[in-house]
Symmetry: C2
């Protein structure tokens, strides 16, 4: 049994790793003219401490370390050199900072992710009538370039997700619906250590454990900004599997949760029983070729928009543009950054201004929805290195036959 | 195979049911001095249309029906009498309203759930410098009193969740960890139709499919405002099962997702192998007695705070106050409203100002964490009716022996 009664270090990362991440943020703050910030979303607290807790980190260019304000749990403790205040509400932050002679003027807040009510509450607690500075963009940019420790966690997730995907053919039984098949994949993922939670930035997108699509359902547009749609099992969650029976010859596209470490990889593969329709085989090969072409282009300094245009060009040359990233409804991107959340920077889209950097982690998912056939394509997660993208989701890219 | 190519009615509820819900909101708006509002969170769009889509509903006391602004999916269509505008961004809303001679002054927004950035974007799009009115409280109050159609969906969820709980003893195998046991319960829930998604209002609380607690792990405080804690499997999601092996005689508390219809019920039961420790049996009986006592008090007009005080009094009289709602860390409530989200009004807490109304749906979860024993107690979901709470999660309340 694990020890439950230990008090816990507030910073699980260690000083060196935390400093790496803080320095990225500090550089961004300097460039944006931000002197101090308060960070409190779960994803960003996790980024800066290696654990989720309820509270606030006060960051300042004039301090060497964050000041921690903890609401819950009560079991967090500080080590030498760390300042931790236990608070019950954000209104207590200003008093502590004032007593330490730290200015709360012009503190930047997480405006993209904090509700208006909560934002105003924190702003007022700090003596600001309205928030003047937004730390969201700085955090997003910092998080888009992963540290070696983060890359290691992503590699572990990629290895575990690959193991699960290689096991998927054995999970199928004839006559299964897409939902039944997905449930067995969910179970296999969880038994391999998948944490289940699928973290999505923002409030608009919702998904349970991923998306399994087969048949005509693949062509049902969804309200969410995922690459693929599907009607879902219920109008309260209109995305993904809808109970369609898996038929011989038709592809089943599996895109399920790769969160094994707090950092998520993203992988899609197609499966089939019987003999896969030729159109599906061709489209899967094209998807794989696009991944290879784009990953070779994934060098530091590359334009994200150039990658998208290359993918579109290859789809057009193959006569598949009408089916690229959907058919009745088209997703506006072919890839996305990921890590703690599934929708990080950079975005591989036609109007993206993002420039790739070494240490970006990007999922490429050139997919096709072919009427009468279904959804076809692969997705891999790559680390941007000096000579191109290195794949960390290394299951075979060909469609896999179900046992 | 389900038909994917149909266009979809934007309002799945039907006019009569939608009018019931709208009238509750209009009454709240009148009381709050709000003339018009824009609703766009997934939960509230689902409440007002019976489906989730990406877009906005414009509500006004001067209009008989909402005006719909749809971003995605493109497949939504209007029926006679419905006004639907297809838009790409919120900036297009004002133009349509202006053309229809509808004022956009003083429109209330969902300030409790919309990010600061998005709030300001919508406010500016409507010509407001800052939002002046908040519709969040009106929506929360309206949603806390369920319509007969909503109660029916909750009853279905309760029936399905009960079926799954009765099956739980058969899912156990000797030597299982809490996580392994939970995975089998997740699978059984999903096969019975559980949608998986666990909707929580706000941005602070995160949970996958629920919480399975055994042994000392039950006494590990969590950062989240759930009734119970647990260390979880990873510091990125510090709640619930942590790999503790289930031991004979010790309770396993199971509190997993009851979202079978878009409306969630909430139920907790304890399970054990071998012979359950006497302290656990007694605590479970006390929990069950508290539920019975409080549900009898659950009449329209009852004070939520009185229910909490009664639960605390019963815990005190039994000498169990130190273990009530936690031991090292205590939750500040014994029950909560629920429906589309797990944390709706009313809240059964000592300082709650909530007064119960007929049609409230409330989960009561008087639980105990006993050092050396673990977490013990039950949870049921009740509908507030004229003569008290009617339970809709009717699995046996006694601890159930694992096969």
């Amino acid at each position: 049994m694990k020890e439950a009664n230990d008090f816990l270090q507030i910073n699980l990362l260690g000083d060196k790793e935390q400093a790496l991440r803080l320095n990225r943020i500090y550089n961004g703050m300097r460039a944006a003219g931000i002197e101090a910030a308060i960070v409190h979303s779960n994803s960003n607290i996790y980024y800066l401490t290696g654990r989720v807790f309820r509270g606030y980190l006060f960051l300042s260019l004039t301090l060497s370390a964050p000041i921690y304000f903890v609401r819950q749990p009560s079991t967090l403790r500080s080590r030498a050199g760390e300042t931790v205040y236990r608070i019950r509400k954000p209104e207590e932050i200003a008093g502590h900072l004032c007593a330490d002679n730290i200015s709360t003027a012009n503190v930047a807040l997480e405006l993209n992710t904090t509700s208006y009510t909560e934002t105003m509450r924190i702003a007022h607690a700090l003596g600001m009538e309205f928030p003047q500075y937004d730390i969201s963009g700085v955090l997003r940019a910092a998080r888009s370039v992963k540290t070696p420790a983060e890359l290691h966690m992503l590699e572990i997730s990629g290895e575990k997700q690959t193991l699960v995907y290689e096991r998927i053919p054995h999970l199928y039984q004839e006559g299964m619906s897409d939902i039944e098949f997905q449930i067995e994949i969910e179970r296999a993922s969880r038994l391999e250590g998948c944490l289940g939670l699928f973290r999505i930035g923002g409030q608009e997108m919702e998904l349970f454990m991923g998306n399994v699509l087969t048949g005509e359902n693949a062509d049902t547009p969804s309200p969410y900004d995922f690459a693929m749609g599907g009607a879902g099992a219920d109008p309260s969650l209109p995305v993904g599997a809808n109970g369609t029976i898996i038929r011989p010859g038709y592809p089943v596209m599996v895109d399920v949760n790769g969160n094994y470490t707090g950092y998520m990889t993203d992988m899609t593969r197609c499966f089939y029983s019987g003999e896969l329709k030729e159109e599906a085989q061709k489209a899967n090969s094209l998807s794989s070729e696009i991944c290879d072409s784009l990953s070779a282009m994934m060098v530091p300094g590359a334009k994200a928009s150039d990658l998208y245009m290359q993918a579109l060009k290859m789809a057009e040359e193959a006569g598949m543009a009408d089916f690229f990233m959907g058919h009745r409804s088209h997703a506006g991107f072919v890839g996305h950054g990921l890590g703690i959340e599934i929708n990080e920077a950079p975005v591989i889209a036609p109007r993206s201004k993002d420039i790739l950097s070494e240490g970006n982690v990007i999922a490429l998912e050139p997919k096709f929805v072919i009427p009468g056939i279904g959804a076809v394509g692969i997705e891999n997660t790559y680390i941007v290195e000096s000579n191109g993208g290195r794949c960390i989701t290394n299951a075979p890219s060909r469609p896999m036959q179900l046992d």
